[in-house]
Subunit: 206 residues, 2 copies
């Protein structure tokens, strides 16, 4: 049931369709922000935009398909911030520190300080929507790249099986990646973003 | 608002009062289990037990006071399991492993496999009821004891400030202590209970 995010019955036919899709997404972002994702139906949305429900269904299969696009957009923004933060780090150790800091800051900012889209993010994380799964996979890949880089440069030990090291680091970071969990960790996110990579770097010392 | 858990206007007057309190707690445990904590009112509860609402208020100040006792009982059971698991561990390292394993198993079992009281646990964790805060404090103290013991025996390094090491370990364990978060980690709790202490022990190596 959670698998049809991002899928549509209609195919895109051109710039006009693209514009209408954007218009629906923007209106839905506003509307979900006011009334919450779970409480809003596609009928509510249609009424608010001034489209018929049938017309919206020409562009999106379901409410979740709309929520999925909004969620994907947000996660793509977070990933851009994370990659920008890591790009210029001189060492694998510094990359790990920046990964933790940027994930925890971008997550807190985008989903909670503006708080509007928290509802979608929490549902998406709880139900593990495809965009959320893809995001978590991408984060795990970043961790693996960092560990491999640090092993090659001699910053990190090489005894622990790679999978085990990467998985444990991912499990430590996950409560700050997953929006449904991050809400319980906002108070400690800033100190966690410093103390957790410090502990992990001690564990990676050769 | 979340601070009056466990407080009652009436003082206990004897064995009969104690019995009636137990009767209310048992009935509430059943009732919350069926209908959920958040959806149940004290009136619902009174009707179900066959007491008047006023009579229940002679023993408990509020619904939260009742939920607080149920939650405290559960957390006390978890703590007994944790302490029993750690008691016979021969080293600080083994204590740390057993702490992670027992917390994650006891939490999963008591709150989720029987799933009945999840609703209370999640509300209590989300709103940080006093019993939950006390439980988290106790877990943090256990971690500190383990780190101190390992530093004294020479199993662990002594360079990192004690507070920082203890806090980071607590932050790693917390998603498995906090019931509101544990629900998102049930799938990975078993592997986490092995891989996380292993990573932490590498970080503590002298």
């Amino acid at each position: 049931m959670a698998m049809n995010e991002d899928m549509n019955t209609s195919t895109l036919r051109g710039p006009l369709d693209h514009e209408i899709r954007d218009q629906i997404i923007n209106a839905a972002t506003q509307h979900f922000g006011h009334y919450g994702y779970e409480k809003t139906t596609v009928s509510d949305l249609a009424k608010a935009i001034g489209f018929s429900k049938a017309y919206i269904y020409k562009f999106f299969d379901s409410k979740q398909a709309i929520g999925g696009v909004i969620c994907s957009n947000r996660l793509a923004m977070i990933m851009q911030i994370v990659e920008a933060a890591m790009a210029e780090a001189p060492t694998a150790s510094e990359k790990l520190r920046r990964l933790f800091r940027s994930i925890s800051e971008a997550g807190s900012d985008l989903f909670f300080h503006d708080r509007k889209l928290y509802d979608i993010a929490a549902v998406a994380s709880r139900d593990q929507w495809p965009s959320v799964k893809a995001h978590e996979l991408r984060i795990r890949e970043l961790i693996q790249q960092i560990v491999l880089e640090g092993r090659e440069s001699g910053e990190f030990e090489r005894k622990t099986p790679l999978d085990e090291a990467v998985n444990a680091i991912f499990l430590i970071l996950r409560p700050y990646v997953n929006s449904a969990q991050l809400q319980y960790n906002l108070d400690t996110a800033a100190e966690a973003a410093v103390h957790l990579p410090a502990l992990i770097l001690r564990s990676l010392a050769p």
